[in-house]
Amino acid sequence: MAPRSFLFGAQKFDLRHAIMLAGFAVLLIVPLFGDAYLVRIASRIVVLSMVAVSLDILLGYGGLISFGHAMFLGSGGYVVGVLAFFGVENGFVAYPAAILLSVTLAALVGLIVLRTVGVYFIMITLAFAQMLYYLANAIRIGEDYGGDEGLPLSRRSPLFGILNFDDPAVFHYFALAVLLAILFVSYKLVHSRFGRVIEACRDNERRAKSLGYDTFRYRLVAFMISGGIAGLAGAMHMNLQKFVSPDELHWIISGDLLIMVIVGGANSLIGPIIGTSVFVLLEEGISNYTEHWMAIFGPLLILVVLFGRRGIYGLIRPRGEGGGEGR
């Protein structure tokens, strides 16, 4: 029984670790070039990676293909936006509030969607996110706020007086620290007893039940944890862009998130970050030349799904290493 590895938990250093280290190093030094555009792209990778990791907990570990994960990106973002509108800027209020509301949203949505499985689950999560999308479009505050106009953020939620988050580099390092914390917590989570229940439910829910597990409740808690992490990411995303709009909630975003996780490699935590990086870089790179950048990303997606069931991360994984593979 080989222990599963986290970063340097593995016995031997291999290609995966080299790529992870290189990627982390790049994210670390990008701000040193002083190019605001590059920092912005790097920060986007970091923040969207948080959502992708949270989605992977559901998809890769729980076998729950949520096609509505953008709803938490939106809920987190809107909490920050609405609080700021009412004059509450403090990050120590905004971020916890974003997490709390997203966990609550996940609990309410989860109570309904987790009663379905398979294609029905995909459709009903999609439906919920679209419902919120239309809701966000409909609700306005006064003339210029909310609705399809979205909400602006004049100043990034301050946390400690000395740190100026409006400096892109400072915010970037903050986001990077949050991502690492999320990775660590997620790693602990998926290898815990709770994680074992979630993976067993993915493989064989019926068996888990007949052993004595209340699978619905375990899944609900997983859904809430995932929603909470995604909500925090949504708050970070809002801070990064200093703007949130209903577009954040659109099903296309939910689809993009699924693509990031699947292309990068579900059931690995690192895979979703690789997928997000590739996605964002291609989006930024190719969309400069053609609007139809999906025409290039689409075939890549098909190739990855055809040749590596575990995505890019699976391709660079050393041969013979098992790990929990499911579905």
């Binding site: 029984m1 222990p3 602990k188 989570l189 290898h191 815990s192 007893r193 709770f194 994680g195 074992r196 229940v197 993976e199 067993a200 493989d203 064989n204 019926r206 068996r207 888990a208 039940k209 007949s210 052993l211 004595g212 597990y213 209340d214 699978t215 375990y218 808690v221 098992g322 929990g324 593979e325 499911g326």
Partner: protein, 259 residues
């Protein structure tokens, strides 16, 4: 002996026009092996699925240790001491054999809302799992992913998982299904070691298995229980012979001649 572990009264299950179980009364006494036999489609699996809670009965009542569990969900029944093995192997394919059994043991080791410590570090669960795998004879396969195990090993793992939940009542649905003669024999040997330690409801096609293990046998025909008696009496029971054995009468003779 006086209070049965399991008491079933008037259990009926219909699938449309088909009556899969009709007014079945059966009890399992403490420590006994109660076998349920019957031809294909007699309703044996349907019966066990209702006991385990996967299928809701149309009418009837199920009591475990005197407590009415008819309306309880599957997981609650399991925690009350009911463990099931499936006719068609049902394990966690992406877990190793050891992880499968440790996962089963975890179910009765308090709640699993434990988010931080690695599950692998729960030594008492691993040790318990390894001991059970050793007992059933596949300890050397403990590190193999369940999906890579052979069919016979799956059957053994299936039973090991059921045992790891510290059950009082074992519901075994054809534990030797699809096994070769050699493997069947060693499974019988293992099940024999469980005799007296657990109360067992055993569904089985294989008459050798049934007659070598059962304390009592109930015969199911077309969803109806036609007899419940000791193996010897069942052998001689005219109704069972006529109704159930029919084409199998020859097979019934075999263990008798051997006994």
């Amino acid at each position: 002996m006086n209070d049965p572990v399991l008491a079933v009264e008037g259990l009926t299950k219909r699938f449309g026009a088909l009556i899969a179980n009709e007014e079945i009364d059966i009890d399992v006494r403490r420590g006994e092996v109660h076998a349920v036999i019957g031809p294909n489609g007699a309703g044996k699996t349907t019966f066990i699925s209702q006991l385990a809670g996967e299928l809701p009965p149309d009418t009837g009542r199920i009591a475990l240790n005197g407590r009415d569990i008819t309306a309880l969900p599957v997981h609650r029944r399991a925690l009350l001491g009911m463990a099931r093995s499936y006719q068609i192997t049902s394990v966690i394919p992406s877990f190793t054999a050891l992880e499968n059994v440790a996962f089963a043991a975890q179910a009765v080791d308090g709640h699993s809302y434990r988010f931080w410590r690695p599950a692998q570090a729960a030594h008492h669960l691993n040790e318990k799992a390894l001991a059970i795998l050793g007992e059933i004879g596949i300890a050397d396969r403990s590190g193999v992913l369940a999906k890579n195990l052979a069919h016979g090993e799956h059957r053994q793992l299936e039973i090991a998982m059921a045992l790891a939940t510290d059950p009082q009542l074992l519901l075994l649905d054809e534990p030797t299904a699809g096994m070769g003669p050699g493997a069947t024999e060693s499974m019988i040997g293992f099940l024999d070691t469980l005799k007296g330690r657990y109360s067992i409801l055993l569904i089985e096609h294989d008459m050798d298995v049934v007659f070598s293990l059962a304390d009592r046998i109930s015969a199911l025909v077309n969803g109806r229980r036609v007899a419940t008696d000791t193996p010897d009496s069942i052998r001689r029971n005219a109704e069972v012979r006529r109704a159930y054995l029919g084409d199998r009468a020859d097979r019934l003779v075999l263990p008798q001649a051997g006994a």
